[in-house]
């Protein structure tokens, strides 16, 4: 194994601990706490009324528009990370800066288009 993966060994250890801790805790709780056989306790809470219909309903399409915009900008932001690492001291400073500036301008054009089209408006 090389050095890079070594630094992920603690991540793996923490991952396993994170998987184990809540079940162990809930087991202890299960032993200590009272348990009752009552169907009425397990009804869905809705301010004391009987719930009408399912909670898993269709949602507004506006959420989806936000999600699409988010994916676009998220991926574009990710392109900036490698660039930020190398744009200085690698002999490409001038061209890298100009190109990234152009990239940001293009992204901003898309952003302005979204704004103009009212895709970022919560309730139309």
């Amino acid at each position: 194994m090389t050095g890079v993966i070594d630094s992920y060994i603690p991540v793996a250890i923490f991952f396993i601990v994170a998987l184990i801790t809540p079940p162990v805790m809930m087991f202890i709780v299960h032993q200590l706490s009272p348990r009752s056989k009552a169907e009425r306790k397990l009804t869905t809470y809705e301010c004391g009324s009987v719930p009408i219909g399912e909670a898993r309903i269709q949602f507004n399409v506006e959420y989806y528009l936000y999600a699409i915009a988010f994916v676009l900008f998220d991926v574009e932001v990710l392109f900036l990370y490698p660039w930020a690492m190398v744009y200085i001291n690698h002999g490409i400073t001038a061209i890298a800066t100009v190109e990234m500036f152009l990239f940001i301008v293009v992204v901003l054009m898309g952003y302005l288009y979204l704004w103009k089209k009212e895709a970022l408006k919560w309730v139309k």
Binding site: P34, R35, S36, K41, T43, V50
Partner: protein
């Protein structure tokens, strides 16, 4: 409406839990329970306003570790704060049923204790104590927040002395 109100008493079924009740460890558990009595924000009548006031800055039930919770799933105490109309009783009973065990009831104000001004009214429920296992009655019309706080302290004493009814529900 149209729901049948049953007076069901639920019993605990965990073996370790039953065993703990006979040991001094239960005192520690009761100490924890009595010092974190979270009450359900469920105001019903004019007493409800006093109940809210008891949680606010001037009276500050947080001193005793008593804080309001909005969901019955995280509440320990339900305060019947006012007249219980026949129409509201199913909702109240449902909220009480949805609270996880152990849970306690405090009966606040004359209306909920005996009917008060609505004694033998056609629309209010009399004899609340036959429907809920009430631990503390707080008389008054409406009782002042201090009285509610005293009621909480009496409930704490009952929990410590293991004489409360609520632990069984």
């Amino acid at each position: 409406m149209g729901e049948i109100i049953e007076n069901v008493s639920f019993t605990a079924t965990s073996a370790i839990h039953e065993f703990l009740k006979k040991t001094p460890l239960q005192d520690l558990i009761n100490w924890g329970r009595k010092n974190s009595l979270w009450f359900l924000t469920q105001p019903m009548g004019c007493c409800g306003v006093e109940m809210i006031a008891a949680g606010c800055s001037h009276y500050d039930t947080d001193r005793f570790g008593i804080i309001p919770r909005v969901s019955p799933r995280q509440a320990d105490v339900i305060v019947i704060s006012g007249y219980v109309t026949k129409k509201y009783l199913p909702a109240l009973k449902r909220l009480w049923d949805q609270m996880p065990s152990p849970k306690w009831v405090i009966c606040m104000g004359d209306c909920s204790i005996s009917g008060g001004p609505f004694y033998e009214s056609y629309s209010t429920v009399q004899n609340i104590d036959e429907i809920f296992p009430i631990d503390v009655f707080i008389p008054g019309c409406p009782p002042r927040p201090e009285a509610l706080i005293q009621g909480f302290i009496e409930l704490q004493k009952k929990i410590m002395a293991r004489e409360d009814k609520g632990s069984e529900y």
